[in-house]
Amino acid sequence: MKKVFLFVFLGVFYSCGLNYDGSERDSFTGKIIDENGYPKAGVYVQSIASIDGSPPFSGGDYDVISYDYTDENGNFKMAFPSPKNENEMRLLVNYSDKYNPDDPAYSTIDFYNIQNESFINYRIDFQEIQLYPVENSVLLTLVLNDNMNGHFVGCNLQGKVAENHFNFSPFYEDENNHFYPNTENLMAPNQTVTVTYYFKNWESEEIHENSIQIEIYNEPVTYEITL
């Protein structure tokens, strides 16, 4: 009986953590620009693979599988062995770690919930990603009201957002696909922000999307969305 327990224990322990296929090399590419549209050099970007759970016994794991600094043209390029059992991949822009900005004077972007389906020929090209100085940011508060038509799943913001958590695969149906709340957002004044919100009908459980544009001036804004 002891041997059985030992094998079960070893089996559970062995199965913990992320697995990779070294014969497949995935890559992230893109370009970071500043508030004026010029290339921004020296920005720290990280690609992350993670599997849910609390390590070590329930299989949770988290790897910064590659990182890069943008070159003089603002370009970054990261290649890494392909993770095989991850729940999600992420691209962190201007984070020193998972939570804190590398350059606090500028905004950060976290592309989360990146799934395998988003890779085309083993690559995702994020194209242009804009950062801006966060010094004079104003607050946008979103109030999302469920009603009998359906309930909110989450939302993505496009614009100059100080700490932008962007769900890369909003329609990915998985129990681990949790949106960041994104209800209180610091952002640059004098801009138009696009809010894309995702909701489910109570009966069908299918995810739908809709978009609105919100004008931001120099004052805090509270915006209410009701389905």
């Binding site: 070294g22 090399r25 890559s27 970054f76 392909s82 083993y122």
Partner: protein, 214 residues
Amino acid sequence: MKLHFKIFVFALLAVTSLNAQKKNVFQPRPELKIHVGYMVNTGNNMLGKAHEPGVNLGFWTSPFSVYNFKIGFGFNYAQFKISDASLAGNIGHSDLFDFYGFVAYPVKISEKFEIESKAGIGGNKLRQKTGNNKFGNMKGTSYLAGVNLEYEVAWPFEVFAGADYVYSRFNVKSHPDYGSFFKNADQLNFFAGIKFNMSQKKKDASEESGNAQD
């Protein structure tokens, strides 16, 4: 890699069987070489651009020769620290295992010195690790060519030093923009080691001719 190895083994067996009956064509010539080396990664590829040079250990052995061509096999292990995480991943190091068959041709240049050229083909595996965490393998085919100089210290021991060029072709899938960046590897290995002759020493030519006159 399997096809190359089968062709190599088939050619080896064919040459051996065709010539085994002929006098002095097939000669048992067991020897073992153990070496340490310094391997430099070159070229526009993942090993060349994202890894530091590394120390390697290995051996090669040839049990016999055919028409004075030594035939045998060898193993090499090398470890390289990763120097660019954006190209190779945020990983501690890469281990390269290489198992190959070879043909070598020795030329005696003096009583104590011998120079030997070598060509081989084999299979290899590049394994990436940080501590005990593994990040997958890349497998491929390696081709090597090299030369080494040997000096007989005292029979059956010799010391040797030389250099090999190793070209590897890995089976890797990646975005077309990377071209053959992950598929190719070019390496130069500078090595030195000890050779152990396991056969009886040949008699000198003068002794042999003297014996013939008797």
